[in-house]
């Protein structure tokens, strides 16, 4: 068990170190997120009330698109020089690799959100820094990474992985995205929790089921 968590944290630490050195993934995700927000800002010429209503939808669409860039890059660095083989050779349960990569991808998305949310709050004049909203962001980001890392590992086996990932990812992601948008909108609108829980439960269910699937099937997905 110690070996398992040590491997998981080693992979997380390695992904953070690679990103710290290259700054490719976060830069691309951040620039892309800000561009999407700006495009929405100018394309949807909405009044203040309507802007507040579409906030959650615009935000989650932004994170979903920017996240795809990150997921693609996160597996690409493992495939580029067959580095994944180096991980697969380690004497640990291979699901530790999945959890290490999922945790790293969650951290990357959260960092992007940390920078994007204030920009969005200013442009759209919405207060996004409420505890409830931030909890939805964290839960949604974990569920997104758990699904995305598993599918990115699948797509990475194919030659056209960059094209394949969004095609695989978005159909599976729709329920989580819809739930995240509903929960976020509910919180921003100040609805009672009784209306928000059903959406939160969907996000939590995905955030639990996908890691279980990753634990069970990651070895099969990455095998030659």
């Amino acid at each position: 068990m110690v070996n398992y968590f040590s491997a998981l944290f080693s992979i997380l630490r390695k992904d953070l170190a690679v990103e710290w050195r290259s700054r490719q993934l976060l830069t691309a995700m951040l620039v892309f997120s800000v561009l999407i927000i700006l495009i929405f800002n100018f394309a949807l010429e909405l009044d203040a009330r309507l802007r507040a209503e579409v906030s959650a939808g615009v935000l989650w669409a932004t994170f979903a698109f920017a996240g795809t860039l990150g997921l693609n890059r996160s597996m690409a660095i493992e495939k580029e020089h067959s580095s994944l083989d180096g991980l697969l050779l380690a004497p640990v349960d291979r699901s530790a690799i999945y959890f290490g990569k999922t945790t790293a991808n969650t951290v990357f998305i959260l960092v992007v959100e940390l920078f994007t949310l204030p920009i969005y709050a200013v442009l759209y004049n919405v207060n996004l820094f409420t505890p409830g909203f931030l909890i939805v962001i964290i839960l949604g980001s974990w569920a997104y990474s758990a699904i995305g890392t598993l599918l990115a590992a699948m797509a990475a086996q194919a030659r056209n992985r960059e094209l394949l990932l969004p095609v695989l990812l978005f159909p599976v992601l729709i329920p989580v995205l819809v739930a995240a948008v509903r929960a976020s909108t509910g919180i921003l609108d100040g609805l009672e929790m009784v209306y928000i829980w059903p959406s939160l439960n969907i996000i939590i269910a995905y955030g639990l089921i996908m890691p279980v699937l990753g634990y069970m099937f990651f070895d099969l997905i990455v095998k030659d």
């Binding site: 690679v18 020089h81 991980l87 050779l89």
Partner: protein
């Protein structure tokens, strides 16, 4: 240490390895020769638990694959065509990462020792991206032997190495075998195979032909050609 019986590997309709039997004992160095596409890398990848056989049994130090693959991996050191490194990390960061994965005690000392051994001590803080092919190969070798594996599986280990690098590799292989470790390496260099290996196996047409060691290069070359023709 390595025991393979009835091993076959199929990719689609193509049978790459056909009913192979191979035994490599403790402290033995075995060279694997064969033309391009003969299946040498496939065989090494199967032994390294990176690929699964279509049929047949593989045992590593008595551990049957794929059931005990996780335990077997701790005993294996593998160097493939790629050095399996992260180009954005420095030489020492790469080795420290793998040292953590393998739970190596006193990792700092081991990493220093290996960087010195492969001649990269002065380049330790440089990113692997800045390294030449030969230097990446040296770092790949350090990665493969970091956890002092009992069995070394090397796919063309001398590739990209300069004269001093190749000599370092030869010395390393001899010393590793002297300690009772097992080495199976694929090569195209018949001189080197004769100089290093106790036994030479030729893989051609998906099958293995075992050759002795006490051969001249001319004899080896003739037997190699014969094995290749016989196995199509």
């Amino acid at each position: 240490m390595i025991s393979v019986s009835g091993l076959s590997k199929r990719y689609g309709y193509r049978l790459v390895l056909r009913d192979l039997d191979l035994r490599v004992g403790r402290g033995e160095i075995v060279a694997l020769l064969g033309p391009n596409g003969a299946g040498k890398s496939t065989l090494l990848r199967i032994l390294a638990t990176l690929s699964h056989p279509t049929f047949g049994q593989v045992e590593i130090a008595g551990l049957s694959l794929p059931i005990h693959a996780a335990s077997a991996r701790g005993l294996l050191g593998y160097l493939g065509h790629q050095p399996l490194l992260y180009e954005d990390l420095t030489a020492e960061q790469n080795l420290h990462f793998f040292a953590r994965l393998y739970l190596i005690p006193r990792a700092r000392k081991r990493v220093d020792e290996l960087l010195d051994l492969v001649g990269l001590e002065s380049r330790r803080t440089e990113q692997a991206r800045a390294f030449s092919r030969g230097m990446q190969q040296r770092l790949g070798i350090a990665r493969a032997i970091l956890h002092k594996p009992k069995i070394l599986l090397l796919d063309e280990p001398h590739s990209g190495l300069d004269k001093s690098g190749a000599e370092m590799m030869d010395k390393l292989l001899r010393e590793t075998a002297k300690k009772g470790n097992t080495i199976l390496f694929a090569t195209h260099d018949q001189h080197r195979a004769l100089a290093l290996a106790k036994r030479i196996e030729v893989l051609a047409g998906g099958s293995l032909v075992s050759l002795g060691r006490k051969l001249s290069v001319a004899q080896l070359s003739a037997q190699y050609d014969r094995a290749q023709r016989a196995n199509g």
